[in-house]
Symmetry: C2
Subunit: 275 residues, 2 copies
Amino acid sequence: MCVAGCMEAVRAGMSRRGFFGRAGAAAAGFAAVAVAPVPAAAAPRSFERVIDLTHTLTPEFPSFFGIPGIELEPRAEFAKDGYNMYVWKLIEHSGTHLDTPIHFAETGASVEAILADTLVVPFAVVDVADKAENDADYLLSRDDLVAWEGKHGRLPQGCCVAMHAGWGKLALSDPARFIGRDVDGTLHFPGFAPDAATWLLKERAVVGLAVDTLSLDHGPSTDFKTHKVWLPSGRWGLENVANLDQAPPVGATLVVGLPKVKDATGAPVRLFALA
Amino acid sequence: MCVAGCMEAVRAGMSRRGFFGRAGAAAAGFAAVAVAPVPAAAAPRSFERVIDLTHTLTPEFPSFFGIPGIELEPRAEFAKDGYNMYVWKLIEHSGTHLDTPIHFAETGASVEAILADTLVVPFAVVDVADKAENDADYLLSRDDLVAWEGKHGRLPQGCCVAMHAGWGKLALSDPARFIGRDVDGTLHFPGFAPDAATWLLKERAVVGLAVDTLSLDHGPSTDFKTHKVWLPSGRWGLENVANLDQAPPVGATLVVGLPKVKDATGAPVRLFALA
């Protein structure tokens, strides 16, 4: 199975060309040959500041499903019990959260199987905010990735690639525009083009994608092709990422604070860019 | 209010002696004068490896309350819906998790109010495993902290201090001993002595405590004095921490991956030591 194989490849630190994940590509309906993500090199990494890339999760936070992503029910109250405590009812794909391989596959890694070494990784931020400003359905393209490399060099080994579409600030200030639901019920927000995801899968060693919108696929998608290309290959995705305007295009380390819940297909995360 | 004041002090980067948090100490029933935590210095921090300090959270993970900390209910299934997704029912203080100030106070910071700069901090690990091996009720003392400083130097500014009691490995291998419930229903596991917490509060700039057991207080405690000293002062605690035997006594950076859930009094976290 591709996902298990990818995990083994990562664990073994195999070379970028040393693993071919056909099952994932087949599941995605592509003939592509997957390139396994590998952990970042063990060279020292350093940082001076911490950038919080996480939205606060509330019952009102925009959701794909149009219902509250979380509800808190009091279980203990200070005045009566001497301490405070809630029980959460949580849709696991809410707020700033991670999608696992098994979110869009019959089998694959769930949350607890994602290795720590692939959750602390080099971070590349591709700024398409200017293009997306007047095109809410903007698809980050292979050309955008090539242009980024023209400025900043090759995408780092084992990195996460983020789309900065300028949507993060809308989540609280203008949730209707963040979701972009039109009169026909179609959503409108930017995402990764499936062929850009396929190119990253085939030609670069990338462990994860990140978007400052509700979904890796752009709003009008009904076939979720980017999800289906990316996740079953054994890689993860981050959605509803905040504050990407504060992160440098290259040079930061992304830390994905993913609670280690067995069998979960996703989870709210704390994201830090260490720059 | 102390907690708000602490947060402001942290934000402003005030000096260690620049803030006096009497409300927290009063709430704890102590006449102590609190020393505000301050963020770590902005000097570059570097690391080469990632140590995962997180237990996998399952319904079977040992809990303080003796009931499952989490239950997953399927919301979507791949064969039927084309994707997998669960809804979690979660007691927020389950597995490897964080206690906020408001967990043991009438008012105070909840999860979303804890600043990012106080979640990426120097990490000090105090090894008391030898002493605890034959004394399940062991209390980490002020003397243990002084002895640690004798070997490793003064506790770093803005650090988290962890008790390594050797209990982490028991959580899965011997959950009955991890909890230590005797025939009378009393629990037995190590914790921080209240006077050690008070000393840290008064004399050092520490943002958080961490334990590899179920509670900051040792098992037999019924008054939760360490919780009541520590949390209402505006500081946090981590419980059920894993793999502390892999972390160096000093020199690592702890990253607390705390999902940013509004009003929560605690949350499961992903903990990484960057060493």
